[in-house]
């Protein structure tokens, strides 16, 4: 046995030496150039710093009381929006998810559902909300539609992927007993995807609550609208109260859904 210790280093990502250093040098150069094009306007930043001071001062003294009526109304609107849009979204996402699963859906249905999901997912909530506010006017109905639509895109895609990842053996076995298509769905697919579907739905509840605050800013009602108003009036103390409430509710959702998910696994 030879005792010479042989050296080993992992092979570099780019084998060609010249090319490798060329790429590194190019990257550095790009970063330098990119940074040099950013304008730093120091006077505006110092003005902003003063406002930031106000903002943080406000955040240290959150004011729940003086705008409580607005906050309460906004909150209720947001929670209503969240619950209704999540429920409607889940109910509609199930047929779309099943239709978008290649292993069980006929080709035309598959193509249609995939296309719908792609559209639903390519549009960000805020953009959908802007459209729907134009269509249906200001207020929570536009918010509800936005969130339901986004929920369908999100859940249907993940559900479809789950169905496609199902163990195919039980599917075949259930089919071989003479079961119909719906029975195959209920006996071979549903038990395999149900736990994750429940988990994702709960996860979607807290996403929808957060999003309800965002879409409110573009006029779709809810706590976001209240927050926007508070910011516009420079009432940073009320804004702070609203943010704290949002954080609190998201945390509560998070814990609750974690708890339920652990139960259903």
């Amino acid at each position: 046995m030879s005792s010479i210790s042989r050296r080993w280093t992992p092979p570099p990502l780019i084998a060609n030496r010249a090319l490798r250093y060329g790429v590194y040098a190019g990257l550095c150069l790009y970063l330098l150039v990119a940074f040099s094009t950013i304008e730093f306007n120091w006077t505006r930043m110092s003005e902003g710093a003063a406002r930031a001071g106000n903002l943080f001062a406000g955040f240290l003294r959150p004011d729940f009381t003086s705008r409580w009526d607005d906050i309460e109304a906004g909150l209720l609107e947001s929670l209503t929006m969240t619950v209704t849009s999540t429920i409607v979204g889940i109910i509609l996402s199930i047929p779309f998810g099943i239709g978008a699963a290649r292993n069980i859906a006929p080709a035309p249905v598959y193509a249609f559902c995939r296309a719908f999901i792609a559209v639903a997912r390519s549009l960000q909530e805020v953009i959908i909300a802007i459209f729907l506010v134009v269509l249906f006017g200001f207020g929570p109905f536009a918010g509800f539609l936005t969130l339901a639509f986004a929920t369908i895109g999100f859940l249907a895609k993940l559900l479809a992927e789950d169905i496609e990842d199902c163990d195919p053996a039980p599917l075949e076995a259930i089919r071989a007993t003479g079961a119909g298509w719906w029975q195959v769905l209920a006996y071979a697919i549903l038990p395999q995807v149900a736990p994750r579907l429940i988990g994702l739905s709960l996860y979607r509840v807290d996403i929808n609550f957060r999003e309800s605050a965002v879409v409110g800013i573009v006029g779709a009602g809810g706590i976001g609208a209240t927050l926007n108003t508070a910011m516009d009036r420079y009432e940073f103390d009320s804004a702070a109260a609203i943010l704290l409430i949002i954080i609190g509710i998201v945390l509560a959702c998070e814990y609750a859904s974690g708890y339920i998910r652990a139960k259903v696994q």
Partner: protein, 274 residues
Amino acid sequence: MLVIDNLTKRYSTGDLAVDNVSLSVPAGQVVGLIGPSGAGKSSLIRCVNRLVEPSEGAIKLNGLDLSKLSRGALGKARRRMGMIFQEYALVDRLTVMENVLSGRLGYVGFWRSYLRRFPQADIDRAFVVLERVGLLDHIDKRADALSGGQRQRVGIARALVQEPDLLLVDEPTASLDPKTSRQIMRLIVEICAERGLAAIVNIHDVALAQMFVQRIVGLRKGAIVFDGPPDGLTPEALTEIYGAEDWASTISKAQEEDADEAETGLPGKTLASA
């Protein structure tokens, strides 16, 4: 009685998996289907219940040509064919009882099955087969909480509760230890005898096949190259099926094991312990 007439299966990829196979299996007969990996054993039995669509030929079960049935009629015909799988193919998150009752899905409507409101007659049938395979103590356990041998028993019970005329069995013992393998094979063979079922059993273990089945069919590249009694499997026949090897030990081992079985006495009574 199952009659397969000039069955050919060519996959869309161009693989000729089953090549002009004709075979008939009378009620009560258990046929061991052997052959090297890729010979088309799984394709052949999947063509019978049309999990795989045959390309040519006819398959008749008690006179009914399965290869020409429409979707709905196929569902009805599949109720008469039980299938048992290598990896059991149970639905893990369902209980033993639910898995067994799924064998009755072809007979009950969607809502009844969805709500688990099976007719009492079906539940009675399920209890009978569960007792037969020795699983009465586990009916409400989830399928993934069972051992391999127990899982395969659930698979067998699911096939039996269909009250089929034919069992299609795809490598039932490939994931089991030697002892459990024998118990499972013995169970399948005994049940076929009790109920007068025809069965095709795909199997890799030649010795095990010789020990239990009445007839062996050898498949090579999709075509039948051997069809005869287990002791007709000479080294020459095995070479014909699998290719050249020293087969003496495989065969003599089988015969020793046969002797072994005879000494240890009555089979069948030790089943529930696996």
